[in-house]
Amino acid sequence: MNTTVPAPADAARVPDAPARRRRRPTLPYWLSIPAVIVLLVGMGYPLVWQIWNSFREYGLAQQFGQDPEFIGLDNYIQLLSDSGFWLVLGKSVAFMAVTAVATMAIGIGLAIFMKMIPDWSRIILQVALLLAWAMPIVAQLTVWNWLINARNGVINHVLSMIPGVDMIGHNWLVNPLSFFAVASIIITWASVPFVTLSVYAGLTQVSEEVLEAAGLDGANRWQQLRQIILPILRPVLVILLLLQMIWDLRVYAQIELLQGFGARGSKYDLLGTYIYSLGVGQGKFGLAAAAAMIVMLFTIALSWFYVRELLKEDKS
């Protein structure tokens, strides 16, 4: 899901209750049975199906009753030797990199800026960021589609007020590069608030005394930032960057919605819409399963660091 949120770490502050009740060792199993069933049905079975079918020939013929044939790594080989797949993969990774870096840069910048301004103006800014963050994805995309509307969208109108520029009638979604730029701007707009508020919360934990002492010792603002603030914030920043990368790789909803606003076609595809059209669209379920497996492995590789951090937190 799209709004998955990092787990609260309240527990990190409180040491886990010691395991006291060893008398009845069956109870924890009864308690976890419902969760295990839910995971097995909703995730386990599809996962096994996916792994299994990524090794089978499962196309339209098999949809109509023919037995799917085991073909080993053929699906993977076919995908990996298809320049179309590499193009989509490359576009997705580039999209992720640009969006994640932009989100982090703007988010951190705003957080530092928020430390430097009077309280009342900071609260106004925080509320504005929260409003954008809270918007459901479909509502986000619907509003942006209206903002960039070719004929009487606000953005074209405002741009046209610049002397010598006439943007009225310009369609931002036709050119693929512009299409992805729009998608990236919308996603950045919606994800910066999370980064800013998290970094700001981290900044409030940097003690003013330490900074003052550093100031007395002759460290200027830049040195304080580099030598004191950034090292304290580093763990937060690493996790935020990882989450942004994972989230910016999973942008099926945004891309599918933007495509629906008037730009259908494979040149506007990223991995999510590509897999969807391969599977549900063209009925090539074996290939789609293999492509999904590649995305899954990629995501797990990316998130491994975060998973390790969470496991550590569980131990504490």
């Binding site: 899901m1 199993y29 909703g42 599809p46 800014l125 589609n145 903002l147 009487n152 999904a292 797990i300």
Partner: protein, 280 residues
């Protein structure tokens, strides 16, 4: 770090307000347009001043075909998913936070890993499974997928809350004569209530807003959830004249309840995560 120079401070405040206006502008524009008449909207020059003062768009949206059905579908699906998810996640959270048992580590790893997986990595397989069960376009089908999608996160979140309540409290009650179950219900459960509410609101937001899986599994027009209905409403007239006022009214109707719920719980989101990371 607040600057001591008053001129700089004023400048900073002004920049902050400008940024705030820019960031909130899309939300403002959605609400503003939703109250404008078709004639105002069709004007080549946008009307920036607030509130054109007509509620006709809302009336048209609410009475349009599909809105009532989509609202009902969303309420039913979210209701089912939420109740099942909270019960399942709560029991699971008790198990992993109050006990050490064989297989616990595997369960914890599974719920963490599953949270990381994007819909894109599994939706084809989930689609085939639900199609195989004959449950496409049904409340049951999408609920299965939603429960599986939100249980891991909810369980992880509740785990933190349960672990935050010392087991000593319960034992004290037991020494004072409570049964074990009684001690749990009278001591731990009331303390957990805020945690259950917060986790419930998060689960609600995820299911209520979900689009990707719904767009794949609920394709028929009489089984749409609100996000799907909004998508169709804004696209149905893509080739004709779009009634932007109505589309924005529809968008506002979908977004405002979510924004309100979100504002209630967001504090926990940033605090929790960063608190752990800074300490860790």
């Amino acid at each position: 770090m607040i600057s001591k120079n008053p001129a700089l401070r004023t400048l900073g405040a002004i920049v902050a307000v400008v940024l705030a206006v820019a960031w909130a502008f899309p939300v403002y524009w959605m609400i503003n347009s939703s109250f404008q008449s078709p004639r105002t909207i069709a004007n080549l020059t946008p009307t920036f001043s607030p509130f054109g003062g007509t509620t006709a768009n809302y009336e048209a949206v609410v009475s349009s075909s599909g809105f009532g059905g989509a609202l009902r579908m969303s309420l039913v699906v979210t209701g089912i998913a939420l109740v099942v998810c909270i019960i399942v996640a709560f029991l699971g959270a008790l198990a992993i936070s109050r006990f050490r048992f064989r297989g616990r580590k595997g369960l914890v790893l599974a719920i963490i890993l599953v949270q990381m997986l994007p819909a894109e990595a599994m939706f084809i397989a989930q689609y085939k499974m639900i199609a195989g069960l004959g449950l496409l376009n049904t409340v049951g089908g999408i609920s299965i997928i939603y429960v599986a999608a939100v249980v891991p996160f909810t369980m992880w979140m509740l785990r933190g809350f349960v672990a935050g309540i010392p087991a000593d409290l319960e034992e004290a009650a037991q020494i004072d004569g409570c049964s074990r179950f009684g001690a749990f219900m009278r001591v731990t459960f009331p303390l957990l209530a805020p945690g259950l509410v917060a986790s419930g609101v998060f689960a609600f937001l995820q299911v209520w807003n979900e689009f990707a899986l719904a767009s794949i599994m609920l394709t028929s027009s009489d089984s749409q959830t609100l996000p799907l209905w909004l998508r169709n409403f804004s696209q149905s007239s893509a080739f004709g004249q779009i009634e932007w006022g109505q589309v924005m009214a529809a968008s506002t109707l979908v977004a405002v309840p979510v924004i309100i719920f979100f504002l209630i719980v967001q504090g926990r989101m940033t605090k929790g995560m960063v608190g752990g990371a800074v300490k860790g």
